[in-house]
């Protein structure tokens, strides 16, 4: 994993005029942005603006149709497989096995990177699914509880870049606070976080920057000379 560690000065995500298609539909029609390590960036925009596609592209799930994009220094056109282990995507779906318990799920996802039992327990505790919920079947959980389980899997997988699609949706007030605290501490620990959200007053306070996604386009290169 250490091979992927970018030089501290280079940005984590760089997109330049990226076009990506879903079927034949250009969901991204020219996205340019730069994100540095440790940033929490909020992507805002109406439904269908291309926020989800942008996150999936950064996760290495979609090919770059035109333009240039890199994540952690890996080219999104040719090195998508190398990007993936370092990136955690939480989309509309949680990626959970609904017939398994919370603990089974976190164990499985942690297991794919060889996480220890202590790491797995810590991840569950951090997302508040450790005690009462740990042995509950995921299918019976509420939407918010599933989301927290999914985040616990992300933590257990030691992702460096977190791509979160509407992470606050379905969470109650305390769940949101826990999530925000987790995201802040993760960012402080060096994770880079992209959040797509409608709930501006909520996510806005969390984010270090807000970018507008409009009609599949983002234009947010870092101003020249500016550094964090």
């Amino acid at each position: 994993m250490s091979a992927a560690e970018p030089a501290s000065s280079s940005p984590v995500i760089v997109l330049d005029e990226v076009v990506a298609v879903l079927g034949r539909f250009p969901a991204l029609a020219g996205a340019s942005l730069t994100v540095d390590k440790g940033e929490i960036v909020l992507l805002q925009g109406p439904n269908g603006a291309g926020k989800t596609t942008l996150l999936r592209l950064c996760a290495g799930l979609l090919p770059v149709e035109r333009g240039v994009g890199t994540v952690l220094g890996f080219d999104l056109a040719t090195q998508r497989e190398s990007v993936r282990p370092h990136v955690g995507l939480l989309g509309h779906q949680n990626g959970l096995y609904l017939d398994l318990t919370v603990r089974d799920n976190v164990r499985f996802w942690g297991g794919t990177v060889g996480a220890t039992t202590a790491e797995i327990d810590a991840a569950m505790a951090r997302m508040g699914v450790a005690d009462r919920l740990a042995d509950v079947t995921t299918r019976t959980l509420s939407a918010g509880q599933r989301r927290r389980t999914s985040l616990a899997c992300l933590v257990a997988r030691r992702s460096q870049v977190w791509l979160l699609d509407e992470p606050h949706a379905g969470l109650d007030a305390s769940g949101r606070d826990e999530l925000d605290a987790t995201l802040r501490s993760a960012a402080a620990a060096g994770a880079t976080i992209l959040v797509a959200s409608h709930e501006l007053e909520r996510a806005g306070s969390l984010a270090s920057r807000t970018l507008d996604v409009v009609a599949g386009q983002v234009d947010a290169h870092r101003p020249p000379g500016a550094s964090r």
Binding site: L96, Y97, D99, L100, T112
Partner: protein, 227 residues
């Protein structure tokens, strides 16, 4: 993490899902059983049934294979777990092997039940001398079926029309298994005067098939599920 360890993790996960959901036990096994019964309605003759019993066992296995594969990938796509594994950069060969191992375990259990049903329903008898041939055949055939099923199940997963695409791709590919396993089991059960030694060439065929699709499948699986 080596690919083998991840494969083992995935296989254990699949079997745990089955242990908790009981879909195979409660739905696929009864389905296979009913298939065995309706074969008897269609053929309507004890003598014919006795003659074709090995073939019917494997036919029922093929049909159940299709259902098992659908189920195996439904649990992956229900909540986007296959996507999540791709995002997590889980080695595609490990996914292939893990899912194939779990599928093979389920298939073996099912085949034993079907053989038992053939003994009861179709008047078959298993001699002690043929057990080795029978077990070898089951193992070799199952590995081949699991490899092909996992390969095409993964290809079809997530597409509209996967329910119809899967049989179209799978059934011609597993035709050699149907032929080979049926002949080998006929030899083991002494159907129509066959003797045990007739079965071994077929086990050779089944083994080559399993190895070819095991290797080919683990190489091809990555490009097929990764879009």
């Amino acid at each position: 993490m080596s690919a083998w360890r991840v494969a083992w993790l995935i296989a254990r996960k699949d079997l745990r899902v089955e242990r908790r959901s009981r879909v195979v036990t409660n739905q696929v096994v009864p389905f296979a059983g009913v298939t065995m019964v309706i074969f008897a309605f269609a053929l309507d003759s004890d003598a014919v049934l006795q003659r074709v019993a090995p073939g019917l066992v494997w036919l029922a296995t093929m049909f159940s294979l299709l259902v098992l594969v659908q189920r195996s990938f439904a649990i992956e796509t229900d909540d986007g777990a296959l996507d999540a594994m791709r995002v997590a950069g889980v080695d595609a060969r490990a996914i292939f092997l893990g899912k194939a191992i779990a599928l093979a375990a389920e298939l073996v259990a099912l085949e034993l039940i079907l053989l038992f049903a053939a003994v009861i329903l179709y008047g078959q008898s298993i001699a002690a001398g043929s057990v080795v041939l029978l077990v070898t055949t089951l193992v070799a055939a199952t590995c081949g079926l699991a490899a092909v099923g996992t390969l095409y199940g993964g290809l079809a997963a997530g597409f509209r029309g996967r329910e119809t695409l899967l049989p179209l791709l799978t059934l011609p590919a597993v035709a050699p298994v149907l032929i080979g396993a049926t002949r080998a089991v006929e030899a083991a059960l002494g159907t129509a005067g066959a003797v045990v030694s007739d079965g071994w060439p077929w086990v050779g065929l089944l083994t080559v098939f399993a190895v070819a699709f095991g290797v080919g499948g683990s190489l091809a699986f990555g490009p097929l599920i990764d879009e």
